[in-house]
Symmetry: D2
Amino acid sequence: MSTAGQNDPRFTDVGRLVVRCPDRPGIVAVLSGFLAEVGANITDSQQHSSDPSGGTFTLRLEFVLADLAGRRAGLEQRLAALAGEWGMVWRLTEASRRPTLAVFVSRTDHVLQELIYRVRSGDLPAEITCIVSNHRDLEPVARGAGIPFHHVPVTPETKAEAEAAALELVGGVDLVVLARYMQIVSADFCSRFPERLINIHHSFLPAFVGANPYQAAHDRGVKLIGATAHYVTPELDAGPIIEQEVVRIDHRATVEDMRRMGRYVERQVLAQAVTWHVEDRIIVEGPRTIVFA
Amino acid sequence: MSTAGQNDPRFTDVGRLVVRCPDRPGIVAVLSGFLAEVGANITDSQQHSSDPSGGTFTLRLEFVLADLAGRRAGLEQRLAALAGEWGMVWRLTEASRRPTLAVFVSRTDHVLQELIYRVRSGDLPAEITCIVSNHRDLEPVARGAGIPFHHVPVTPETKAEAEAAALELVGGVDLVVLARYMQIVSADFCSRFPERLINIHHSFLPAFVGANPYQAAHDRGVKLIGATAHYVTPELDAGPIIEQEVVRIDHRATVEDMRRMGRYVERQVLAQAVTWHVEDRIIVEGPRTIVFA
Amino acid sequence: MSTAGQNDPRFTDVGRLVVRCPDRPGIVAVLSGFLAEVGANITDSQQHSSDPSGGTFTLRLEFVLADLAGRRAGLEQRLAALAGEWGMVWRLTEASRRPTLAVFVSRTDHVLQELIYRVRSGDLPAEITCIVSNHRDLEPVARGAGIPFHHVPVTPETKAEAEAAALELVGGVDLVVLARYMQIVSADFCSRFPERLINIHHSFLPAFVGANPYQAAHDRGVKLIGATAHYVTPELDAGPIIEQEVVRIDHRATVEDMRRMGRYVERQVLAQAVTWHVEDRIIVEGPRTIVFA
Amino acid sequence: MSTAGQNDPRFTDVGRLVVRCPDRPGIVAVLSGFLAEVGANITDSQQHSSDPSGGTFTLRLEFVLADLAGRRAGLEQRLAALAGEWGMVWRLTEASRRPTLAVFVSRTDHVLQELIYRVRSGDLPAEITCIVSNHRDLEPVARGAGIPFHHVPVTPETKAEAEAAALELVGGVDLVVLARYMQIVSADFCSRFPERLINIHHSFLPAFVGANPYQAAHDRGVKLIGATAHYVTPELDAGPIIEQEVVRIDHRATVEDMRRMGRYVERQVLAQAVTWHVEDRIIVEGPRTIVFA
């Protein structure tokens, strides 16, 4: 975990508890009882049962608790005890701590600009700590936003070293975002960021996996084009989907038109996915995601 | 409450508990503790706090409990005790009991046909027990669906008697649906069905209140037309909104085109609103609705 | 061409001319000059150039011409002459003549019901002359609508004979609609209805080709499910796409929920595609369609 | 007309002809004949008849003509002759000439940022020649984009002088864009920019005219919030609508949430409207717009 991330005063004393465990009667009573006992006021609660008989239960609670930061260690101790009893996997986060992001880009800036805008406007409660690119084109954008920019060229021969250099540069960042990075990252790189590496693919997956999806969409004659944000796994474009959206086109749309129109879908979809991630709203469940939007 | 409504075996032993009370820490723990204690398994839970400090807390729980029907009286006794303690308003329903609907129509059949289709397909877990109309046009539709049809003509002079006759005919129905009824019902009629009288208005309210909204939309030159389902209150088209949807039009659309396109939005919006109502997903909160969709 | 199809008085004297030819300057002037000369008033005109230099030009004109039926032979003679000169492929239709449809179904009725509703309401200016099914389930629906129903069972062994029997039954119908028919039709059957055979596939093609797309969509964890109407070609689910639409789902949606929600998308998409077809709004251009909506 | 606006090489020799006249048979033949005769190749054509008998005919043609700039005077002479004969109002523009925009803002930057992004990316073929604001907050944004910024404070007492100063500053600009300017401009100011003054209103007009529409939307309990781009006329929020869009909200949305979510709709709607305007795709027809999108 990174120690970076500035405090956001809007969220002081706001905590989030995300829990997964085998579904058994009583689990909600136990967790809500625990929070009531410590004096927390639950302000939002969402839950999901994969299958009421013998499935997995997932719960996300948002609560306010005076002096959350000071009392955190004590809460975690008690949660650890409950976890043993109920077979729980859990995480407790403080909303005031903004996660850190490393954004990987190539030559197009539309997704990066959107992330920068949303961070600056406060809609994306995170901090972009560095921008990494295999090209220098977007260095001025990074500089304009006051974000460190690292140029890490990649060739088929230097891919391993390039990834090693990038890993060094991003350090203990909370989330890596591939914002139209246009490079396939290695299985090893993926393994460094389990459920912490998000990509935007410029098609409605699983249609048009791989390179040049707008050309493929044009060749197939689809009437809607889309974008998909997903966690990256070693298999190309096959990781758990977080968010998708489409836009209508008609027969007049050239491949170039699709690229242009697609940019607005891509930026929206990726920004939404990253926001849900940093707000602890996503739980990966095998090949799928649970999103408590 | 009506005693009609056939049992739906899909939903045997499925219960729903909807609760409203002042927001106090511990309320979730108490209610989930209660359900755990009686052996119910919570399969869905949604909640809303209008304002975490001093606001109103609303909760909808769906659960499975063996022999729900047999144990209902006991559950209600204990809920009544909790209600006194926590200032709760609550309702407990059995999903297997399908609510009864009276549908009021005039001359156009698109919304009625949709309700009939959804009931028959099982998507709308309810029973249409009668159709009331001020015209005879849709009598064949009612007959084809095997639903009693009542012709109750209305003129400005006979409005009071007509409403009295209609009230007699619908009896203790659970919900009255105005499916393009084209008559303004009286404040007295509204008062007989508090939060149990749903209308579809063929505009995106509050735009184009009153008669002939498509003409008004055409005159104003809007680029989207819409429909709104709402609970009916004495003030025209001003009751709590349940659902709205829009569809895009362009400059070629005549008023007649809008009517034609609008039909598909109207039927979708009203059917959705009625489904949420009969599934106990809607809570009226002053001028607004909470919809646990 | 069928000689069935009743006249629709709304469309008396309304003609449609659809033309394709190599793109050359002057083509619009020639065609609009021709229509002006014969006294037709052009009420709608849409055109598309696949590529302004050396591509294909497509034009759809809608016009009003007094005594269109009587003058049709003369118009066709002159169009034939122009066609030779400009390399035009063309078709001239009278809007008042409602095309005939044969609808193939299996056991689910939602798409069929929608087609029946739209024909009856006048929104789909066509006539359903027969319903063919490999099961008897929907015979009552056909009977209720007063449409001949033909039960043509299909097994792997009897497929060829079944298709031959179906061909005999549908005769010279203008369009064959596979309304969730659930059988793969043979290449030979396809060849009998070039660009006159429309299928609804219950996924957003090219994602989830083949059987059970909702299960596949669930397994992949998509966030939108869709439907695709397309002309049928021998390659499975690969014909030119006419229309697509999607609906948002979340992690709670089971495969059964997707099937239920998908029904409303399927019926909308297929009905739209069929309407565009019978209004002469679709031109197939290789693997794509031009839709003058 | 401004003489500013740099040439865009993508659009060299691309012309646009927009024509309005009484609807008479033969008008299309005459105009397409004229363009064919001068050697222009029509690449896009859209038309609309308000009413085929006795209504108004509107046509937008896009064409390629070698040495358009050099031949423009000759074309205009011939069009003027045709205009007399057919009662045509017309405009001929060169796509390579990018229109100039003056953008008026107040304190929020989301719409301005979007316009700057789209101009820079080439999606909005225009040039922002100045930014005018009654506050200094967005001066850094203007400076970062290299656009002159003018601070023109407005108080109820100084409104007339402020508008006079603003008029002086914007000079002969092609289009004035009120990008969340938050000031009501005078009838006199409107009259200086007939059909050249576009505003974004943060509601789905005609619902929620005037100040604080998100608060009003919250109070009414709507389920969709929207934004409307329109030409400004002296009557508040009543000018011809160019574009509208909505986004779904639920009962959890506070007024602040609506403001945040609405920003993304507002920027999209205004940018779309401005793009259509500068591409000569909008024709005002009384209280409505024709948009050849």
